[in-house]
Amino acid sequence: MLSPALVILAGFILYPAVNAIYVSLTDTNLLNLSAQQFVGLDNFIYMFGRQDFRDSLRNSAVWTFGNVTFQLVIGMIGALILNARFRGRGLIRGVVLLPWATPSVLVALMWLWILDPNLGLLNHLLRAVGLEQGKPIAWLADQHLALPTLMAIDIWQGIPFFAVMILAALQGVPTELLESAKVDGANAWQTYWRVVLPLIMPTVLITVILRLIWTANYFDLILVLTNGGPANATLTLPLNSYITSYKGGDFGGGAALGVVQAVLLAVLVAFYMRQVRRSEIA
């Protein structure tokens, strides 16, 4: 029974993973694979010595944990609001999904023009209300603003996912428990903290871990809006891997960056697997 699954796993996951590690130890040029040579740890040594690797590692950490933290907090608040009874709730529940449902490249192009310093809507609005009086703000071209701006866009896009997942968990909380807490004199905060949160925690944890992995791998938005710039201020590990491989033609170096990313993500995957097992036992 298990054989087909094992074959698929070996073919589509194990072999590529092992081969990726092998490629990271070679000077692979996809245009001339017959010239491929084993170079040991040269790609890793070269990578660790480069400022762009250190920049991309730092940016990846800020990007991943920053985005997911804000998405979780705002998504949780959104889910609690959407779980309450109010008029038009069904419509609002549908509308909040729009950022999540919009293709990433469309989102990127839309924000590119909203954030344009000279012709963009945001600076125009800021000027109109008197909040911008000097030179226009270069949201994506200032090395201190570019990453936070990109993060704000990703947070905006990712909140609906958290809201919907947590909302589904909230709807699974038995009303008897909530009523019992009320009878016992618990206020809203105590009910949330002592009753609701423990019950939705497995869903929250799995959602957070999945989202951490997706966010760490996600670079479409950055590629379109800043291409990692200015001066590597928004360069993340997967984008660095893509640029190194395809733009630099250095597939060994790109694979080395991919391996580092994979090792870091493996820690999150281990947490995820443990959480799944716990959920199954529960």
Partner: protein, 425 residues
């Protein structure tokens, strides 16, 4: 959707993996010569304007003349074109012929992906009808072998707002780079949301930068084909280019093509550097408010200046099984009639044949005339070196942006680009 995002992140790794299964696709196989009537060839190019049908019309005409069918794939836009080609070569399903930006060619030549067209090209009856200044764009500077046929040619020059210049009392476009900097100071009026030169620090801005440095006296290679880019001339011109940033529109450090065009149209920028690709849009939007001029040089004397151009050339893949038919197609595209059609297409290009370039409809078009004027003098492009791809698409942007924002020095940009050209990293 999320699966796709995750897949993108590990794409290089997976592609490398899949490619390892596919085996090498080195050049060398395939037949040449013989009767090619009835042959179907696969040809790839990217469209600068998605509505343009010129190439399809030329393919139909070519089929009527030769009996060779050209199956065109124009589905991938320029930014992703090279990625697709690399994957196809690795997977062993590359096209028979392809359009190539000259910046891509060095790596492909070095990896033996392109067919050597030297003897077939030199014996081709159309060889002498192509402008002689076009051949260096497709010729390996060390081996002198020809790897493509010239096709869509573009020279870099300056577009400027004549109305803004006049309003600020600037009567003529500066000829030297020192005068250029002085002029930019006069045009800089931030309170009016009017800035001077949008230098394009974002995607593909290396072309504008290099065109300015080359006009300033920088050279990529010496006569023996050695990299000599790290020179006092390059450093001096780079310093001037970086100083223009203080008069640039906000955001110029990240600007790409769309932003520099929009800024010139709105008046946020008074000067940009580009090629003919911007002409139709700017003419339509600005009419006679936009002027064109040669890029300011070190001396101000065009006769002593080298100007930079770029070319989308047509190459035959070494692994093609239909090299002869593919060669006929790429040569057909450089014939006079095809060149007239391509030059008149939606996007517009500078003709590469002498006869087409002399037609009044082109010589009287100010944008083509300025391109031909620049091309009369010494011309160059990014060299056909394996390191050019890395230098232009990986190395330049972060370091140049860093220099603009004070994170690193201007000299470090020159040193790193020269190093990338030499080493390919």
């Amino acid at each position: 959707m999320k699966f796709r995002k995750g897949a993108l992140a590990v794409a290089p790794v997976l592609i490398a993996t899949l490619a390892a299964c596919s085996g090498a696709s080195d050049a060398g196989s395939g037949s040449s010569g013989g009767d090619v009537k009835g042959t179907t060839i696969n040809y790839w190019y990217w469209k600068d304007d998605t509505t343009d049908q010129t190439m399809n019309q030329l393919a139909a005409k070519f089929e009527a003349q030769t009996g060779i069918k050209v199956k065109i794939d124009d589905s991938v836009a320029q930014p992703k074109f090279y990625d697709k080609l690399v994957n196809a070569v690795a997977a062993g399903n590359a096209p028979d012929a392809t359009q190539l930006d000259t910046n891509m060619m060095g790596k492909l030549i070095n990896s033996h992906v392109l067919a050597d067209l030297t003897s077939e090209t030199k014996s081709w009856k159309g060889y002498d009808s192509v402008l002689p200044t076009m051949w260096p764009y497709v010729t390996d500077s060390k081996t002198k072998k020809i790897y493509a046929v010239p096709n869509k040619f573009l020279m870099f020059y300056a577009y400027y707002r004549k109305d803004i210049f006049a309003a600020d009392g600037v009567t003529s476009f500066p000829k030297t780079q020192a005068e250029f900097l002085d002029t930019l100071k006069k045009l800089y009026k931030p309170k009016k949301n009017q800035y001077a030169f949008d230098f394009r620090g974002g995607p593909n801005g290396q072309d504008q930068w290099a065109a300015f440095l080359v006009a300033g006296g920088a050279k990529f290679l010496d006569d023996q084909g050695n990299v000599v880019f790290d020179s006092p001339e390059a450093r001096k011109s780079n310093d001037i280019y970086l100083k223009t940033a203080q008069y640039a529109p906000p955001g110029a450090v990240n600007d790409g093509f769309a932003q520099i065009i929009a800024n010139l149209q709105s008046g946020a920028a008074s000067v940009i550097i580009n090629h003919l690709g911007a002409a139709k849009t700017l003419d339509k939007a600005l009419g006679n408010k936009v002027g064109v001029a040669l890029i300011p040089s070190a001396t101000g004397d065009p006769a002593q200046t080298t100007y930079m151009g770029t070319m989308n050339a047509e190459a035959v893949l070494g692994a093609s099984k239909h090299k002869e038919a593919a060669r006929q197609w790429v040569q057909f595209l450089a014939s006079n009639d095809a060149q007239v059609a391509i030059a008149k297409s939606t996007n517009g290009y500078v003709p590469v044949t002498k006869e087409a370039a002399a037609l009044p409809e082109f010589t009287q078009n100010p944008n083509i005339a300025i391109s031909l004027e620049a091309a009369k003098h010494s011309v160059t492009s990014w060299p056909l070196l394996p390191g050019t791809t890395a230098a232009t698409t990986k190395t330049w942007q972060p370091l140049f942006q860093g220099a603009v924002q004070g994170k690193n020095t201007g000299d470090q940009v020159i040193t790193a680009v020269a190093e990338s050209l030499k080493t390919g990293r």
